[in-house]
């Protein structure tokens, strides 16, 4: 099996010179072993600067989710390095990596993944609790975030009492709660209707604009791609285009 590590179309997706880097990948490779090994990430060099609103797009199997998982410290690369907020994730032990994720990366998942037995407000406080933040601070920030994502009156509702759009807003608030360096969102709008998608994008863009929060998300959704400020396209585990708007 020939696994190409270089192609003519592979490019490096660089951040503007002099900008503060939030994420940097250096010649990143990930191969899934199986009957036929799959080169899911194939020599990706990527830089994302603070405050960017970046969509990673590409067809199914192009390596978007794998790349996001490696950047998020959820999966390990086979070779190359990932530097997040100035720290290399390559050799961090698992428990340190868990703490690193908690303090630096906010996650938003396609299926919301809220904790079903906690209320919306408790879900938002959950990550702050893991950070051992004082109760008053947790309460104040979770209330502020509930308002910021437009569901101020729903703090006492459990996920099963909320719509998909509302749950995803709680998930965004939960991701923001521990004051991460950036937010990784894997297909955040895949389960949402048009109205909820538009609302969620408004909220994310507002947070990006007002608080300078960096967003990196994988998506197939043209409505999301249209509003992204930077679009990185992956094909067969390689970056084939990097478009800024």
């Amino acid at each position: 099996m020939d696994l190409n590590t270089e192609t003519n179309s592979q490019i490096s997706a660089s951040a503007p010179t002099g900008s503060e880097l939030v994420v940097q990948t250096i010649d990143l490779h990930k191969i899934y072993q199986g009957v036929e090994p799959v080169h899911a990430v194939n020599g990706v060099n990527l830089e994302i600067a603070a405050g960017e609103f970046t969509a990673i797009v590409g067809p199914s199997g192009s390596g978007k989710t794998t790349l996001l998982n490696i950047i998020g410290g959820l999966d390990r690369q086979d070779s190359g390095d990932v530097i997040v907020a100035g720290a290399s994730l390559a050799n961090l032990p698992e428990s340190v990596l868990t703490d690193f994720r908690l303090n630096n990366i906010g996650f938003v998942f396609q299926a919301y993944n809220l904790i079903p037995v906690l209320t919306a407000q408790e879900n938002i406080e959950f990550t702050m609790l893991l950070q051992k933040r004082p109760k008053e601070e947790r309460e104040a920030r979770s209330t502020e975030l509930l308002n910021a994502v437009g569901i101020g009156g729903l703090g006492d509702k459990r996920p099963s009492q909320l719509s998909g759009g509302q749950q995803q807003r709680v998930a965004v608030a939960r991701a923001l709660a521990p004051k991460p360096t950036f937010i990784l969102a894997d297909e955040p709008t895949a389960n949402l209707d048009s109205h909820s998608t538009a609302t969620l994008l408004d909220i994310m863009l507002e947070l990006n604009k007002k608080e300078g929060m960096t967003f990196i998300f994988s998506t197939h959704d043209q409505r999301v791609i249209d509003r992204a400020r930077r679009v990185i396209t992956l094909e067969d585990g390689q970056i084939v285009s990097d478009e800024r708007r």
Binding site: N69, G72, L74, D75, E94, S95, T98, D99, R101, L102, N103, F107, F109, N113, I115, P116, V117, L118, E122, F126, T127, L129, L130, Q131, R174, A175, P178
Partner: protein, 405 residues
Amino acid sequence: MVTKLAWRNLWRNKRRTFIVIAAIMFAVLLSTVMDSLQAGVYENNIKNMVGFYTGYAQVHQKGYWDDQIMDNTFEDVEGLKKEILANSHVEEVVSRLESFTLAASRKKTTTTQLIGFDPEAEQALTKLKDKLIAGSYPSPEDRALLIGEGVATKLELGIGDSIVLMGQGYHGVSATGLYPIMAIAKFGSPELNKSVIYLPLKEAQYFYGAENRLTSYALLLDKGSAVDEVVADLQQRLDTHAYEVMNWNEMMPWLLQMQQADAGGNKVMMGILYLVIGFVIFGTLLMMIQERQYEFGVVMAVGMKKRKVALMTLIEMLFMTLIAIVSSFTLTIPLLWYFKENPIQLGGEMEEVYQQYGFEAIMPASLDPSIFYYQAIVVFVLAMLVYAFSINKIFRIKPVEAMRH
């Protein structure tokens, strides 16, 4: 938060939680009832044996128990009795003088155990008067016999008939006497029934030529559980060069051995029950971990350490075990109380076997708190062992893989 999460997680899948709690609860209930009935029977057997004859403890002349002859008697001095009664657990000191004699009627002869007894004190310890089936209970001054029903049958005698007694007395004197039968008693044990003869103490001392001498003081205690404390105390305060103080299990080691042998079978049953509990807990934990791979992957992804996830499942397990134990005891205690007050009556062959050993053919329950502590501790330890065995599954979870479930 971990505790709150664990508690709420329990009620998320109510059916699973109830099944687990019910399974542990019934296993604990069964093992507690089994243990309680077994302990109740043993306690009752000990009470029967101790209450029938030995008392919980006895004081003898040193060396008497190994060589039970009339020469190994001691003098019944008031000071010694007072010293024994000074222990607050001792309610009564029952004086006895006993040895083996030949008993003969006009036609037959048999070997018997002649016990010189203090009728009032004996009644307090062994309730001897309650066992009478004919005649009247002797007073201390009577010069007449109370005999076992079996002795009467064997010698073909009844109330008012006389028995010739022949034996060896103190310092080898010949002991002979002719006494009328004043009362016949029936004892649970056939062995005792056909061998025991009682004679008021003063007359028995005269018969054996052992004025003011005794073979034993049998002690009536306020509670059987104080026996070791009483024995230790008396061993300190009495002259152990002159006297020996023994508890019931030193005098009747066979009783304890019999119970231990019997308990072996029950331990197998209990072991099977514990195995069932262990598998229930193990199955639940594995199911819980397997079912919740995705959820665990998510919380780990957002920053919850694996040991906290493990702690959460541990607390869930503890909650379920605790609820099961408390529910089980809530059901068990009234049930066992009922069977303590209204013991199960044994019939048929079981009744005969019990009576052969001189035990009452009943199964009372015991409410000894140690039974409940023991069950609670065993189930708790079992839960912890199973937990330790299955918890590595949590530590092997990889968030990315778990979130693909």
